[in-house]
């Protein structure tokens, strides 16, 4: 089992989707500092992605200092700076994009969208 959740979306490059899911798990606490991160081979086998893509994912996350390579142990989740409001807000990106695309398709304007969000926000408050 992989320590993060991913639901592949049609048409988008696997690379970006995996990086996004891992970041989401790290920021939301599903992956904590010191947790072991799967090897390139395991990632590739579990997600059925190209090993080169899996390698790129790990390299990018190491480069962003979210993962750390420990000789003899493998890759672990790095000691994180606490996630900022901005980072957590970035996680909404995908969902917001979907809403905006849908709204434009329906020829709504930003006011309509804000109103719709407000309505749902109030429902859950």
């Amino acid at each position: 089992m992989l320590p993060f959740q991913i639901q592949f979306k049609t048409g988008l490059p696997a690379y970006g989707q995996v990086v996004y899911s891992v970041k989401k798990a790290i920021i939301s606490g599903g992956l904590k500092p010191g947790d072991k991160f799967p090897s390139v081979r395991t990632l590739s086998q579990e997600l059925r992605i190209n090993p080169n893509t899996a390698h790129k994912v790990v390299a990018a996350l190491v480069n962003e200092k979210l993962l750390e390579v420990r000789p003899g142990i493998g890759t672990i989740v790095a000691d994180a700076r606490p996630s900022t409001r901005e980072q957590r807000s970035d996680l909404l990106g995908d969902d917001v994009e979907r809403v905006v695309v849908q709204a434009k398709k329906l020829q709504l304007d930003i006011g309509d969208v804000q109103q719709a969000i407000r309505k749902h926000w109030d429902l859950l408050s």
Partner: protein, 307 residues
């Protein structure tokens, strides 16, 4: 990047039939190359020429830098080959098969072989003839992976396998993914199983190579476009841009696949054809959807196309 397989105008004729015609393809080292096409398109014939099981009528192929007709034990020790119709020595047990194959390959890795055998759930003392199709394919893959080949050639490996065995098969194949510059050439009539694995795609139909491109570039240039057209438009114009594939209209909704997508020019083209278009939506496509769109365009499944 080096190419681990390269063919130059490769052709094979059976009687009056061109099974493979003028086929030039390059497989970059380190890639997982999906070689796709309908049954009878020439996939197996191509693979048999690559591995010197069949001689080309004309043209040539180079594997690991060596002309295919000169491949010898040295090269075959670096190539793994599993085919849908593989003949296994059925009277042997799994243990005997392993003992039989091991001395042929200097790179045979006994520990790795045992790991795969356990993973594949293949009992040492069972005879191959008692195996199901899936078990036989796993035994075949085991005997082709245990020497850690640089190039793995798989000919329709998934046909007739249940989903669990397909999964085991792919996991087993990916065990080699730690090796540097390890290459897989896999033929299939569908892209299903290799959708996110393949980074190169070649499509063959009627013996001709129709397309050979990296998955990245395919996904960059294909988009599904949908829009609503004006009330006075009820049918598609007779002539549409050649890059539009499988255009359809239903009611006032138009849908097509743009095969040369560029944000500005594609929208301009759309507005030129349908000045009153609204609710334009452009979405990225999976490799599978791209393959299906192309298949419909080439009429890949139409037997009259297969010469």
């Amino acid at each position: 990047m080096n190419n681990i397989i390269e063919t130059h105008n490769l052709a094979r004729r059976f009687g009056r039939t061109d099974a493979v015609d003028n086929l030039s393809l390059s497989v970059p080292e380190g890639s997982i190359y999906a070689f796709l096409g309908p049954n009878g398109a020439g996939k197996t014939t191509t693979i048999k020429m690559l591995l010197n099981i069949l001689q080309p009528t004309s043209g040539s192929a180079e594997i690991l830098g060596v002309d295919s007709t000169r491949l010898g034990p040295g090269e075959f020790a670096s190539i793994g080959y599993v085919s849908e119709n593989q003949k296994l020595p059925e009277w042997m047990t799994v243990g005997q098969l392993i003992d039989y194959c091991r001395p042929m390959y200097p790179g045979w890795d006994t520990a790795f072989c045992e790991k795969l055998r356990v993973q594949f759930d293949l009992p040492l003392d069972r005879k191959l003839k008692a195996f199901s199709r899936g078990m036989k394919m796993k035994a075949s893959l085991l005997s082709s992976l245990a020497y850690r080949p640089r190039l793995l050639v798989l000919d329709e490996p998934f046909t007739g396998l249940d989903p669990l065995v397909r999964d085991e098969f792919i996991r087993g194949m990916l065990e080699l993914s730690g090796e540097g510059n390890w290459t897989v050439f896999i033929s299939s009539h569908d892209i299903d199983e290799v959708e996110r694995l393949a980074d190169w795609v070649g499509i063959i139909n009627g013996g001709h190579l129709k397309l050979a491109e990296s998955a990245e570039s395919l996904q960059a240039r294909f988009r599904r476009v949908e829009c609503v057209v004006g009330a006075d438009t009820t049918r598609l114009p007779a002539s549409l841009p050649p890059s539009w594939l499988i255009a359809e209209i239903a009611g006032h909704s138009v849908r097509y696949v743009e095969s040369l997508y560029q944000p500005e020019s594609s929208e301009a083209k759309l507005r030129e054809v349908f000045p009153g278009a609204t609710q334009i939506s452009v979405s990225a496509m999976s490799l599978r959807d791209i393959f299906l769109a192309l298949a419909r365009t080439y009429r890949l499944s139409n037997p009259t196309e297969i010469k």
